[in-house]
Symmetry: C2
Subunit: 347 residues, 2 copies
Amino acid sequence: MLMTACASTKERNSTGPFVIQQQGSFMVGGTTSSEPGKFDLTNALKPQGQTFHGDHAYAFYQIPPKARKYPLVFLHGAAESKKTWESTPDGREGFQTIFLRRGFGVYLLDQPRRGEAGKSTVTATSTPTPDEQFWFTQFRIGNYPNYFDGSQFPKDTASLEQFFRQMTPNTGAFDANVVSNACSRLFDRIGEGILITHSQGGGIGWFTAIKNPNVKAVIAYEPFSSFVFPAGELPNPIQSASLFGELKGVEIPVEDFNKLTKIPIIIYYGDNIAKEPTTVWNKDHWRAGLEMAKIWAATINKHGGNATVVHLPEIGIKGNTHFPFSDLNNLQIADLMAKFLKEKKLD
Amino acid sequence: MLMTACASTKERNSTGPFVIQQQGSFMVGGTTSSEPGKFDLTNALKPQGQTFHGDHAYAFYQIPPKARKYPLVFLHGAAESKKTWESTPDGREGFQTIFLRRGFGVYLLDQPRRGEAGKSTVTATSTPTPDEQFWFTQFRIGNYPNYFDGSQFPKDTASLEQFFRQMTPNTGAFDANVVSNACSRLFDRIGEGILITHSQGGGIGWFTAIKNPNVKAVIAYEPFSSFVFPAGELPNPIQSASLFGELKGVEIPVEDFNKLTKIPIIIYYGDNIAKEPTTVWNKDHWRAGLEMAKIWAATINKHGGNATVVHLPEIGIKGNTHFPFSDLNNLQIADLMAKFLKEKKLD
């Protein structure tokens, strides 16, 4: 059984050639502002009469021949870019190429005010801040400098360096409405598809699905914050040793909430999350997230929806960090996602 | 003759499938700083003992099967990202995919402090600035709001919007040494290859080729500023109506300059550049650039080098903007580049 699984994983992890029908990139969504007055060609650095386009998302897409029905749209989390879904820190293929090989059209987004979509309608200052040992710990690679036992993060220093360097700052404050507007505009442009989110992107996933019926399913890896509840059904905040404090839900109109009950939703969390409240802040941060996710899924299902929370260690998959899709076992994680799509007849 | 050319262009612009052997992305180069002290796991937001990795470049690469000997490394210019080389503003294939289809390995860079490589070791503030009509004019699409007669920029509003949105701010001041260090580290990693630059990236091209003998040729589209000359051979600054003022060369040690005489270099400029000094600032800005490029190439060749300046209208190619590689005739521009590589036995 184990050997069969390994062989099949190896086969899927082909390093051989693959075919692309079409690839490219574009900007989508955003706003335009104009400075009053008339543009003066002889005084062209004056703002009068000039425009500023900002707050769009950037998308890089690749479509294989005879692509499956629904393309996959991938949205990164806080302090990350579309790099999240490309090569892993140790240089293996990420979900971008894994799912392209499996016949899906793949769109990778940089959200507004991040990465290639840096033109922001609000001013921002980015300052070099020594905080990488915090992120190592917050993202549950381990309790710095120690890796968790059996961690699925590669333990060589070059991989850790790649991981630290792939973070990238905001060029404008995170704004869930701005980001979900751009994501919704993407689904206007490409039509029906599946939205896959990570971390802070989780909330954007719910808001985008509320805004756009072209979102046929949401797959969320380790969402945190912005769990939305119908007015009057907000759960109590979850107390936590998290450095970000207690975790609250977000109240929205029930008509909006109900839109989330029309599509399949699956949420995955990795390992080393506390089962009971603890003072170990990283494990407790994610305990709060996982608990809130379970309350949230139960609320979705109570309203007739179809939401599932998968805590990976409970199905025997151990050692995953906050980035299961780029961990050492990411082909196994991809298999789970493919299985979900198949079960929901979305592949 | 014309029909033959058209047919062959169409053939090359296949929209059919193509094969990729390998693709992925990584961060390269950069520096690491550490805050003195010891990381305190129980006080993990304090900087003591934490690190900051910054000033790396980001590279996205695609390698076709049986790739040609030298991969092509593409570096964008000011206020741009690797998007420069991807889909054109009107959605046609850019040089990324055109040259991939022609069998070259392709690396697209985001320079340090830009795009996916946003982690900067210096603080920066980005402010939304209405300046797009200036850039339209500076980049010789036309004299806003008029397009130049026969402009190779698509004239629909959606394309112009894409063009404006693809600009993206710095997350740290432009520093030619920081950028060329990261580019040189890329050539350490990938080995020998061809460096293709745009605009402000031109200077980075010279500095990278000086730093790294793995750069086997430099192809520069509309370089401006940072033309390097041997100590004692600096030409007089070129006066210009450019909004950036007079154009000066940069003095470097002759030993460094001589390294640029060991490789083929080709420089391309588009159309609507003044032949004589004029008060039309955009046309005069690029007149200064083109004149300096010619002085520079002559200096390279006087020292035994192999540099060529191609002013596209002089070989009958009209209407090109500051972005010839994404203009409507970009397949013709690609053909020229391919011809150069073939002539120099670099393909």
